[in-house]
């Protein structure tokens, strides 16, 4: 273990705390506003109430959409996780020039305005006769999430010790065993992190869902579409619920991760 002066550790602790405060400040406000007694979207309210939580729990459209969004998020994470992992593993052994190309191309969807991509996707679906469904939406969300997964795993694989895999193979382990017992555990924090990110992207995505989900509406479709009737802390209530759920997921992911090459 590194033994360092406590001064450095204190400084580091302060830095980390500041960054986390910055990251979570708006979220604290989001949660606080969700308890407003009136439909105010700021903190200038003196009343405390659970009314917004009651409202969303009692709205069957919202509850159904919540379930669908959760399904979409998990499916997006899994599909993009698998595709990103296979791609990154495959790309690692390429010559440098190919590697650069392969790691740059998946970035393109990130730079493309979602509305235009959705229009192209919807036209394509229409042409080959694919109708509206949550799966059509998931397919589109994976394209948005894939670049993140792919690039993060690429970074994680940059210094990966493939000699470990060779050693295992020489000792007689099959490819899948090697993958399951060596590669996967060492990449777990990166994979889980990337999958969490994919979920974040899918959960709040409006445009592609609008063009592909049809009547199987996701949470953003139900919520953001209603804005013209008034913005109220019901949105905050949902955001808070999502935060709590994600925190639970994150704790589990943290427990399950093995970190660091020995």
């Amino acid at each position: 273990m590194l033994r360092r002066w406590s001064g450095r550790k204190v400084g580091a602790g302060v830095y980390v705390a500041l960054v986390l405060i910055f990251l979570f400040a708006p979220l604290v406000v989001v949660v606080l506003i969700s308890f407003n007694a009136t439909s105010n979207m700021n903190l200038q309210v003196s009343g405390f109430s659970f009314r917004w939580y009651r409202q969303i729990a009692g709205d069957p459209l919202v509850v159904a959409a919540f379930g669908r969004t959760a399904l979409a998020a998990v499916a997006t994470a899994l599909v993009s996780g698998v595709l990103g992992l296979t791609g990154a593993l495959g790309a690692v052994r390429l010559t440098p020039r190919w590697r650069t190309a392969v790691f740059t191309i998946p970035l393109v969807p990130l730079a493309f305005p979602a509305l235009l991509f959705a229009v192209g996707l919807a036209t394509f679906y229409h042409a080959i006769g694919i109708g509206f469904s949550i799966w059509a939406t998931i397919a589109g969300h994976v394209i948005l999430a894939l670049p993140f997964v792919f690039l993060v795993l690429g970074a994680a694989l940059e210094r990966f010790r493939f000699s470990l895999l060779d050693a295992a193979r020489d000792l007689g382990a099959g490819s899948f065993t090697i993958f399951r017992t060596i590669t996967l555990p060492l990449l777990r924090p990166a994979i889980l992190g990337a999958m969490l990110l994919s979920m974040a992207i899918s959960v709040d995505e409006f445009v592609i869902a609008f063009f592909t989900a049809g009547s199987q509406q996701t949470l953003p479709l139900v919520l953001y579409g209603r804005i013209n009737l008034g913005v109220n802390p019901g949105l905050n209530a949902i955001g808070s619920v999502l935060l709590v759920l994600t925190m639970a997921l994150a704790f589990m992911a943290a427990r399950v991760s093995v970190l660091e090459v020995p």
Partner: protein
Amino acid sequence: MTQQAQPVAGEAATPEGGRPGRQGSEARPPRRRTSNARRRRVGTTLLLATPAAYFVILFVVPLAVLVVYSFFTYQNFNFIPKFTWANYVQALTDPALRVFYFRTLRIALGVSVAVVVVSYFFSHILMYVLPGAKRILFFLVLVSLFGGYLVRIYAWRTILGRDGALNDLLIHTHVVSHPASFLLNSNFAIAVAMLNYLIPLGVLPIFSAMQNISPHLLEAAEDLGASRLRTVRTIVLPLTTRGLRAAFAFCFIATMAEWVTPQLLGGPLDQFVGNQVLYEFGETLNWPLGAAIALTLIASVVALLGILFGLLRLVTR
């Protein structure tokens, strides 16, 4: 696609690509080694083929639709399939568009650099200074991405507004005498919100890349007399380049394509090029022009990144 079974960079390269110290003592038939290499090549191609196929079908094809549209002619709120270069000419030469583009570019560069620096220090601390808490801190950072984008932007309004938390703090501590108005509806607000969203995106690849650099490496270097700064500069940074580049690329691209944050947190003269694409697409129903602007945007972003990274490689050689 031809590739040879490359020795993975960082390993000592041996004449036959095997590990050092293995030649001679065992009789390993050469045929097995060749078929190993071929199996690996086929495996690699298969591995790459799956996501590639998915990407082509579900992205390249929709992209092709937009490319086709971008060459159509716009006429009276419609577009007709008559080939024209006019949209690209306008996308590339319109002076107003150029203003939006460079405005966005300046902020994208600034924000990306800031995020990479902040994320780098953060990841470094997690890995090497406070390793006991790194697991939970890492995932906590990612949790901050959830909560919904619209309510988060409203939250920033509450924090940065005239009667908001930050102004209250500044007035209480006598930094200012009346509320600072530049905090909201300004580039400052846009930058703050973007940083808030992008730091987790920066930490993710950098931290993941650092996973493979054991703290013992740094310890060893320091035992040999190198200062912390030198260790970082000569060992950690070069070994995490892909992570740093990924972090920069995410932030840069995300900011260049952004339109919601400037719409809700920016002033009237702070709108980004993404807002303009939507204006052409939606207000004037000029799909061909909107598509042309979007496509030139992508091309320029990818080109810029390529140039930046190429330069970086030259400088750090």
